[in-house]
Protein backbone atom coordinates (compact mmCIF):
# COMPACT_ATOMS: atom_id res chain seq x y z
CA UNK A 1 0.00 0.00 0.00
CA UNK A 2 1.23 3.45 -0.93
CA UNK A 3 -0.87 5.29 1.68
CA UNK A 4 0.59 4.67 5.12
CA UNK A 5 -1.25 7.38 7.03
CA UNK A 6 -4.20 9.72 6.56
CA UNK A 7 -5.46 12.46 8.83
CA UNK A 8 -7.94 15.28 8.56
CA UNK A 9 -7.05 18.54 10.27
CA UNK A 10 -9.85 21.10 9.88
CA UNK A 11 -10.35 21.46 6.13
CA UNK A 12 -7.08 19.76 5.18
CA UNK A 13 -6.55 16.11 4.36
CA UNK A 14 -2.99 14.98 5.08
CA UNK A 15 -1.77 11.86 3.30
CA UNK A 16 1.53 10.13 3.96
CA UNK A 17 2.73 8.03 1.04
CA UNK A 18 5.54 5.50 1.10
CA UNK A 19 7.61 3.40 -1.30
CA UNK A 20 7.46 3.56 -5.06
CA UNK A 21 4.61 5.44 -6.74
CA UNK A 22 3.78 3.60 -9.96
CA UNK A 23 0.65 2.29 -11.71
CA UNK A 24 -0.15 -0.19 -8.89
CA UNK A 25 0.47 2.00 -5.87
CA UNK A 26 -0.91 5.15 -7.54
CA UNK A 27 -4.20 3.35 -8.08
CA UNK A 28 -4.42 2.24 -4.45
CA UNK A 29 -3.56 5.78 -3.31
CA UNK A 30 -6.19 7.22 -5.64
CA UNK A 31 -8.89 4.97 -4.19
CA UNK A 32 -7.94 5.79 -0.60
CA UNK A 33 -7.79 9.55 -1.16
CA UNK A 34 -10.94 9.83 -3.30
CA UNK A 35 -12.81 7.81 -0.69
CA UNK A 36 -11.99 10.46 1.90
CA UNK A 37 -12.68 13.36 -0.44
CA UNK A 38 -16.13 11.93 -1.20
CA UNK A 39 -16.91 11.21 2.44
CA UNK A 40 -15.67 14.47 3.91
CA UNK A 41 -17.04 17.26 1.76
CA UNK A 42 -15.62 19.89 4.14
CA UNK A 43 -12.08 18.99 3.01
CA UNK A 44 -10.68 21.75 0.79
CA UNK A 45 -6.91 21.18 0.89
CA UNK A 46 -4.63 18.21 0.37
CA UNK A 47 -1.12 17.89 1.84
CA UNK A 48 1.16 15.02 0.84
CA UNK A 49 4.02 13.79 3.01
CA UNK A 50 6.43 12.39 0.41
CA UNK A 51 9.36 11.83 2.80
CA UNK A 52 9.32 8.07 2.23
CA UNK A 53 8.57 8.12 -1.49
CA UNK A 54 11.73 7.03 -3.31
CA UNK A 55 10.36 6.68 -6.83
CA UNK A 56 7.66 8.20 -8.98
CA UNK A 57 6.80 7.74 -12.65
CA UNK A 58 4.10 9.22 -14.89
CA UNK A 59 1.44 6.94 -13.36
CA UNK A 60 2.24 8.41 -9.94
CA UNK A 61 2.17 11.91 -11.42
CA UNK A 62 -1.20 11.18 -12.99
CA UNK A 63 -2.58 10.32 -9.58
CA UNK A 64 -1.27 13.61 -8.13
CA UNK A 65 -2.65 15.63 -11.05
CA UNK A 66 -6.07 13.97 -10.78
CA UNK A 67 -6.24 14.83 -7.07
CA UNK A 68 -5.12 18.38 -7.86
CA UNK A 69 -8.07 18.79 -10.23
CA UNK A 70 -10.52 17.70 -7.54
CA UNK A 71 -8.98 19.99 -4.93
CA UNK A 72 -8.88 22.86 -7.39
CA UNK A 73 -12.59 22.34 -8.16
CA UNK A 74 -13.26 22.76 -4.43
CA UNK A 75 -11.25 25.97 -4.39
CA UNK A 76 -8.55 24.44 -2.18
CA UNK A 77 -4.80 24.05 -2.37
CA UNK A 78 -2.54 21.05 -2.79
CA UNK A 79 0.96 20.90 -1.32
CA UNK A 80 3.70 18.38 -0.69
CA UNK A 81 6.58 18.27 1.76
CA UNK A 82 9.52 15.94 2.30
CA UNK A 83 10.06 15.73 -1.46
CA UNK A 84 13.21 13.69 -2.23
CA UNK A 85 15.54 14.98 -4.99
CA UNK A 86 14.74 12.03 -7.30
CA UNK A 87 11.01 12.76 -6.98
CA UNK A 88 11.50 16.52 -7.23
CA UNK A 89 13.20 16.13 -10.64
CA UNK A 90 10.28 14.16 -12.05
CA UNK A 91 7.73 16.63 -10.62
CA UNK A 92 9.65 19.55 -12.12
CA UNK A 93 10.06 17.93 -15.52
CA UNK A 94 6.31 17.45 -15.74
CA UNK A 95 5.57 21.01 -14.59
CA UNK A 96 3.83 19.63 -11.49
CA UNK A 97 5.71 22.00 -9.17
CA UNK A 98 3.92 24.91 -10.86
CA UNK A 99 0.54 23.76 -9.59
CA UNK A 100 1.44 21.82 -6.43
CA UNK A 101 3.19 23.83 -3.72
CA UNK A 102 6.42 22.34 -2.39
CA UNK A 103 6.94 22.99 1.33
CA UNK A 104 9.90 22.11 3.49
CA UNK A 105 7.83 20.82 6.40
CA UNK A 106 4.31 19.90 7.46
CA UNK A 107 3.99 23.21 9.32
CA UNK A 108 5.02 25.19 6.27
CA UNK A 109 2.58 23.22 4.13
CA UNK A 110 -0.29 23.81 6.58
CA UNK A 111 0.56 27.51 6.75
CA UNK A 112 -0.21 27.73 3.03
CA UNK A 113 -3.58 25.99 3.29
Amino acid sequence: MAVVDKQILGRTLMVKLSGELDLVTAESARLAIDGDLDEFSRVRNLVFDLTDVKFIDSSGLGMLLGRYKKINDRGGRMLAFGVQPVVQRVLEMAGMTKIMGIASSLDEALAHC
Partner: protein
Protein backbone atom coordinates in the same frame (compact mmCIF):
# COMPACT_ATOMS: atom_id res chain seq x y z
CA UNK B 1 20.70 -14.83 -27.01
CA UNK B 2 24.13 -13.97 -28.37
CA UNK B 3 26.90 -14.88 -25.98
CA UNK B 4 29.73 -14.90 -28.50
CA UNK B 5 30.90 -11.43 -27.54
CA UNK B 6 32.14 -10.29 -24.17
CA UNK B 7 28.97 -8.35 -23.43
CA UNK B 8 26.79 -9.20 -20.53
CA UNK B 9 23.08 -9.42 -21.12
CA UNK B 10 19.88 -10.60 -19.44
CA UNK B 11 16.45 -11.37 -20.85
CA UNK B 12 13.44 -11.18 -18.55
CA UNK B 13 10.02 -12.50 -19.59
CA UNK B 14 6.83 -12.11 -17.56
CA UNK B 15 3.06 -11.83 -17.93
CA UNK B 16 1.73 -8.29 -18.27
CA UNK B 17 0.50 -7.98 -14.71
CA UNK B 18 0.75 -4.50 -13.21
CA UNK B 19 2.70 -5.81 -10.20
CA UNK B 20 5.52 -6.93 -12.50
CA UNK B 21 6.33 -3.37 -13.50
CA UNK B 22 8.12 -2.81 -10.16
CA UNK B 23 9.98 -6.11 -10.52
CA UNK B 24 11.12 -5.24 -14.05
CA UNK B 25 12.38 -1.74 -13.30
CA UNK B 26 14.24 -2.91 -10.18
CA UNK B 27 15.85 -5.82 -12.03
CA UNK B 28 16.93 -3.54 -14.89
CA UNK B 29 18.38 -0.99 -12.46
CA UNK B 30 20.26 -3.75 -10.65
CA UNK B 31 21.73 -5.08 -13.89
CA UNK B 32 22.57 -1.59 -15.16
CA UNK B 33 24.55 -0.96 -11.98
CA UNK B 34 27.32 -3.14 -13.47
CA UNK B 35 28.21 -0.14 -15.65
CA UNK B 36 29.70 3.11 -14.37
CA UNK B 37 26.39 4.93 -14.06
CA UNK B 38 25.80 7.57 -11.41
CA UNK B 39 22.91 7.00 -8.99
CA UNK B 40 21.00 9.72 -10.86
CA UNK B 41 21.51 7.81 -14.11
CA UNK B 42 20.25 4.62 -12.50
CA UNK B 43 17.16 6.48 -11.24
CA UNK B 44 16.52 7.71 -14.78
CA UNK B 45 16.90 4.22 -16.25
CA UNK B 46 14.44 3.01 -13.61
CA UNK B 47 11.85 5.63 -14.55
CA UNK B 48 12.26 4.97 -18.30
CA UNK B 49 11.91 1.21 -17.80
CA UNK B 50 8.88 1.73 -15.59
CA UNK B 51 7.21 3.84 -18.31
CA UNK B 52 8.02 1.39 -21.09
CA UNK B 53 6.81 -1.68 -19.18
CA UNK B 54 3.71 0.19 -17.95
CA UNK B 55 2.90 1.02 -21.59
CA UNK B 56 3.22 -2.64 -22.61
CA UNK B 57 0.89 -3.61 -19.74
CA UNK B 58 -1.67 -0.80 -20.08
CA UNK B 59 -1.71 -0.02 -23.80
CA UNK B 60 -0.13 -3.06 -25.44
CA UNK B 61 -2.27 -5.69 -23.76
CA UNK B 62 -5.14 -3.56 -22.38
CA UNK B 63 -7.38 -5.92 -20.41
CA UNK B 64 -5.64 -9.07 -21.58
CA UNK B 65 -2.57 -10.76 -20.18
CA UNK B 66 0.30 -11.23 -22.62
CA UNK B 67 4.05 -11.69 -22.39
CA UNK B 68 6.37 -8.72 -21.87
CA UNK B 69 10.05 -9.26 -22.68
CA UNK B 70 12.72 -6.95 -21.29
CA UNK B 71 16.27 -7.40 -22.55
CA UNK B 72 19.16 -5.49 -21.00
CA UNK B 73 22.56 -5.51 -22.71
CA UNK B 74 25.78 -3.90 -21.56
CA UNK B 75 27.70 -2.65 -24.58
CA UNK B 76 31.20 -1.26 -24.24
CA UNK B 77 30.01 2.34 -24.26
CA UNK B 78 26.31 2.15 -23.54
CA UNK B 79 23.43 0.28 -21.98
CA UNK B 80 20.56 -0.96 -24.13
CA UNK B 81 17.13 -1.76 -22.71
CA UNK B 82 14.57 -3.31 -25.06
CA UNK B 83 10.94 -3.65 -23.95
CA UNK B 84 8.78 -5.78 -26.22
CA UNK B 85 5.12 -6.75 -26.26
CA UNK B 86 2.97 -8.63 -28.74
CA UNK B 87 -0.03 -6.45 -28.10
CA UNK B 88 -2.16 -4.06 -30.16
CA UNK B 89 0.71 -2.03 -31.60
CA UNK B 90 0.86 1.73 -32.29
CA UNK B 91 -0.86 3.12 -35.40
CA UNK B 92 0.95 6.49 -35.46
CA UNK B 93 4.29 6.47 -33.66
CA UNK B 94 4.97 10.17 -34.31
CA UNK B 95 1.68 11.11 -32.65
CA UNK B 96 2.32 8.70 -29.72
CA UNK B 97 5.60 10.52 -29.08
CA UNK B 98 3.94 13.94 -28.77
CA UNK B 99 3.89 15.35 -25.24
CA UNK B 100 0.47 14.92 -23.63
CA UNK B 101 -0.80 12.66 -26.39
CA UNK B 102 -2.58 9.62 -24.97
CA UNK B 103 -5.28 7.28 -26.19
CA UNK B 104 -6.50 7.03 -22.58
CA UNK B 105 -7.04 10.66 -21.54
CA UNK B 106 -9.22 9.81 -18.54
CA UNK B 107 -6.49 7.91 -16.73
CA UNK B 108 -3.20 8.83 -18.41
CA UNK B 109 -1.21 12.03 -18.96
CA UNK B 110 0.61 11.15 -22.17
CA UNK B 111 3.98 11.75 -20.50
CA UNK B 112 5.44 8.22 -20.54
CA UNK B 113 7.29 8.55 -23.84
CA UNK B 114 8.29 12.12 -22.95
CA UNK B 115 9.99 10.83 -19.79
CA UNK B 116 11.67 8.04 -21.73
CA UNK B 117 13.09 10.48 -24.29
CA UNK B 118 14.17 12.88 -21.56
CA UNK B 119 15.93 10.24 -19.47
CA UNK B 120 17.51 8.03 -22.14
CA UNK B 121 20.02 9.13 -24.81
CA UNK B 122 18.35 7.35 -27.72
CA UNK B 123 14.92 5.86 -28.23
CA UNK B 124 13.67 3.80 -31.20
CA UNK B 125 10.14 2.49 -31.50
CA UNK B 126 9.23 -0.36 -33.81
CA UNK B 127 5.55 -1.16 -33.88
CA UNK B 128 2.99 -2.85 -36.07
CA UNK B 129 -0.75 -2.68 -35.45
CA UNK B 130 -2.03 -6.04 -34.27
CA UNK B 131 1.49 -7.44 -33.86
CA UNK B 132 3.07 -5.49 -31.04
CA UNK B 133 5.63 -2.93 -30.05
CA UNK B 134 9.36 -2.91 -29.41
CA UNK B 135 10.93 0.02 -27.64
CA UNK B 136 14.72 0.28 -27.80
CA UNK B 137 16.35 2.64 -25.30
CA UNK B 138 20.06 3.45 -25.00
CA UNK B 139 22.03 5.38 -22.45
CA UNK B 140 25.75 5.94 -21.88
CA UNK B 141 27.33 6.67 -18.54
CA UNK B 142 28.26 10.36 -18.42
CA UNK B 143 31.96 10.57 -19.09
CA UNK B 144 33.58 12.14 -16.07
CA UNK B 145 36.52 13.27 -18.16
CA UNK B 146 39.18 13.30 -15.45
CA UNK B 147 41.61 11.37 -17.64
CA UNK B 148 42.42 12.46 -21.18
CA UNK B 149 42.18 9.79 -23.87
CA UNK B 150 45.55 8.16 -24.52
Amino acid sequence: MDVSTQLNTVKIEFPSRPENVAFARTAVAMFAAQMEFTLDDIDEIKVATSEAVSNAVIHGYKDQIGIVTVTVTLHSSHLEVVVKDEGVGIADIRQAMEPAFTTDPVQRMGLGLVFIREYMDEVDIHSEVGRGTELVMRKSPRTVGVEPAE
